[in-house]
């Protein structure tokens, strides 16, 4: 097969844009799972919730999806805190978070998906906005706006979160919990409260990520599953706790997936991310930038 250069370059550019979006999707899990050891595999369900929130406001009020996503973050923050409360009282406090905690999040994922099916059906839903459709042409490289905008906003969000975690008091407390919760308790700070805020932030990112997702592609309830592998692959490859590592991993996955889809057909793309994850877990569990 003759690989034409412009096809390859376009695939790589599309992959980088996709990777930017993947960073927005995985940043929440990097906080909750990477930093705080809370294996929230229900994250895709919350992202889908964000999708449908953006869909509804777009359908009935004609609101811009990204704007909705940002406006919804406080509600998702509260939801996240509530989920953590429940998780804390039911599992963390009792000390048996392993299988039961996982089963809890697995059940949550499933209940979220089935509820969305019951409410919205299994039809594909999409939003309307002025930037869905047109693209910018730079020579023979196409930059579709519906990929470019999510990528830009996602990088912005990750940057802001990075600033928040390293500069603000609570952000640094979150990093401290991730390093040593017991030591933090000795400094008279409550890891539980800090974790609650952190999980709140982690779920709040789902509102924004969900609005990006429904801009990029039409959405139906079961597509969330495809993201579990991507999210955790990126989180693990990125070295669990570092945002820069996560960004690199997200871009890498985006590019590999996009090249696979371009040259071998999109039906192979899911295997790429999960294959990535399996190899990452088997060969290098410490991640690309690991300790």
């Amino acid at each position: 097969m003759l690989v034409s250069l412009d096809l390859l370059v376009n695939a790589i550019v599309a992959g980088i844009l996709l990777g930017g979006f993947y960073a927005a999707v995985s940043v929440g899990v990097t906080i909750s799972f990477g930093m705080l050891d809370i294996a929230n595999i229900a994250q895709p369900a919350f992202i889908l919730l964000g999708c449908y929130a953006a869909y509804l406001t777009n359908l009935y009020f004609g609101l811009d999806p990204i704007l909705t996503g940002i406006l919804m973050t406080p509600a998702f923050f509260v939801l996240g805190m509530a989920v953590y409360r429940l998780y804390y009282y039911a599992f963390e406090r009792r000390g048996d978070q392993a299988i039961q905690g996982l089963a809890f999040f697995f059940g949550l994922l499933f209940v979220g998906e089935v509820s969305l099916v019951l409410i919205f059906g299994v039809d594909y839903r999409f939003v309307e906005a002025s930037y869905i459709g047109p693209s910018i042409h730079l020579g023979w490289v196409d930059l579709p706006l519906r990929m470019l905008l999510p990528c830009v906003f996602s990088l912005l969000m990750v940057g802001l979160l990075q600033l928040y975690l390293t500069r603000s008091f609570i952000g640094r407390a979150i990093l401290a919990v991730s390093q040593d919760g017991l030591a933090l308790q000795l400094m008279a700070a409550s890891p539980t409260k800090i974790k609650q805020i952190a999980v709140g932030i982690s779920i709040a990112t789902c509102a924004v990520a969900g609005s990006f997702l429904i801009i990029i592609q039409p959405v139906e309830p079961s597509i969330g599953r495809d993201y579990i592998g991507r999210i955790f692959a990126i989180c693990v490859l990125g070295g669990m706790t570092s945002f820069p590592g996560m960004l690199i991993a997200a871009m890498l996955l985006g590019v590999v997936e996009s090249i696979t889809a371009t040259f071998y057909g999109p039906s192979w793309a899911p295997a790429v991310s999960f294959g990535f994850l399996l190899v990452a877990l088997a060969v290098r569990p410490a991640g690309l930038m690991g300790r």
């Binding site: 294996a39 089963a103 499933f110 899911p270």
Partner: protein, 327 residues
């Protein structure tokens, strides 16, 4: 009770079950519904060997189950393929052979998964199994011989052995599998292997330090667990007569096989059986009377409620109730 006695009892119960159902049940629907419940007994018992005894959460039930189903689909097409390409004529392969082959292939896959992932603990293992099921599904979707994403039609043979209708034959086979699964689970529980697995569940590091060959035991557990799941999946093509990736890799198999042991109780063989009978029956009834989407919601909600309120399942509830009565 010795393991041998237990085997005799389970076999007797299974045999009695088949005979009684043959004598008194004329409605074919019972066999269709009963088949699913029995299938879940096998799946949840198999899951529990790895999840309950060893403490490793497997979210990839769908992968092993569908591998068994697709190996049967391949064997089903094999005689025709050999005939057209090599002009060899072989008779159609009987279903029990397919079940054994499906079990072997899924068992081998379990062994492979074990090698690849069992150095991973807890959450990482769970996520890896979830990933495995999507990778296998993608392979099947892109494999044209078994129909790819379009699916494949499997025509049942005109005559069923044992002088019965075909669904009764499937029902009988699944009862045999359920008996075998429960017997195996109970034998493991009381054996040195079971003790070793329990030490891994309680503290893997300590187990390894005291000389338990943890990796080997875990590989045995994944192989048995995967093999049983594959055997449960092998008759599926003949049950549904139309096999497609979306429904055979359905996440509901994974959710159910996690939910049933969790709800029943993960520490002994009776837990998954109780959970499967209870949840399986509720789902069959709900599918007929309410709707099939809602019955999945019931499973999810029950799973969440049980892990929060009764983390040791029904068996745990009964035990603590008994203890309270003694005091």
């Amino acid at each position: 009770m010795r393991a041998g006695t237990f085997w005799l009892i389970v076999i007797a119960v299974g045999f009695a079950f088949i005979v009684v159902s043959r004598l008194y049940l004329t409605n074919e629907y019972f066999y269709f519904a009963g088949y699913v419940v029995l299938e879940y007994i096998v799946l949840s018992t198999a899951w529990n060997i790895l999840g309950g005894y060893t403490g490793y959460t497997n979210f990839g039930t769908g992968a092993f189950f569908a591998t068994g189903a697709y190996s049967s689909a391949v064997l089903h097409k094999l005689p025709a393929l050999l005939h057209t390409t090599f002009d060899w004529t072989i008779p159609p392969i009987p279903l029990p052979v397919m079940i054994l082959v499906g079990g072997l292939i899924s068992g081998a896959m379990g062994l492979g998964t074990g090698y690849l992932t069992l150095r991973l603990r807890g959450v990482f293992f769970a996520i890896a199994t979830l990933a495995l099921s999507i990778v296998v599904q993608t392979l099947i979707v892109n494999w044209d011989f078994v129909g790819g994403s379009r699916g494949i039609y499997v025509i049942r043979p005109a005559h069923a052995p044992l002088g019965s209708s075909y669904i009764q034959y499937l029902f009988t086979l699944m009862t045999v599998l359920a008996v075998a699964a429960v017997g195996i689970a109970r034998s493991i529980e009381g054996s040195r292997l079971g003790l070793g697995l329990a030490t891994i569940r309680d503290d893997e590091l300590a187990a390894e330090a005291s000389g338990v060959p943890t990796l080997r035991l875990k590989l045995i557990a994944t192989t048995i667990s995967g093999g049983l799941m594959g055997m449960a999946g092998a008759p599926l093509p003949y049950y549904v007569t139309y096999l497609d990736p979306t429904s055979s890799f359905n996440l509901s198999y994974a959710v159910n096989s996690v939910a049933m042991p969790v709800i029943g109780g993960m520490t002994s063989w009776i837990g998954p059986v109780l959970g499967a009978i209870l949840l399986g029956t509720i789902q069959q009834v709900a599918t007929v009377t309410i709707s099939s989407a809602l019955n999945l919601l019931i499973v999810g909600v029950l799973l969440i409620l049980f892990v929060i309120i009764a983390p040791n399942g029904i068996v745990g509830l009964v035990r603590s109730w008994r203890r309270r009565k003694e005091v």
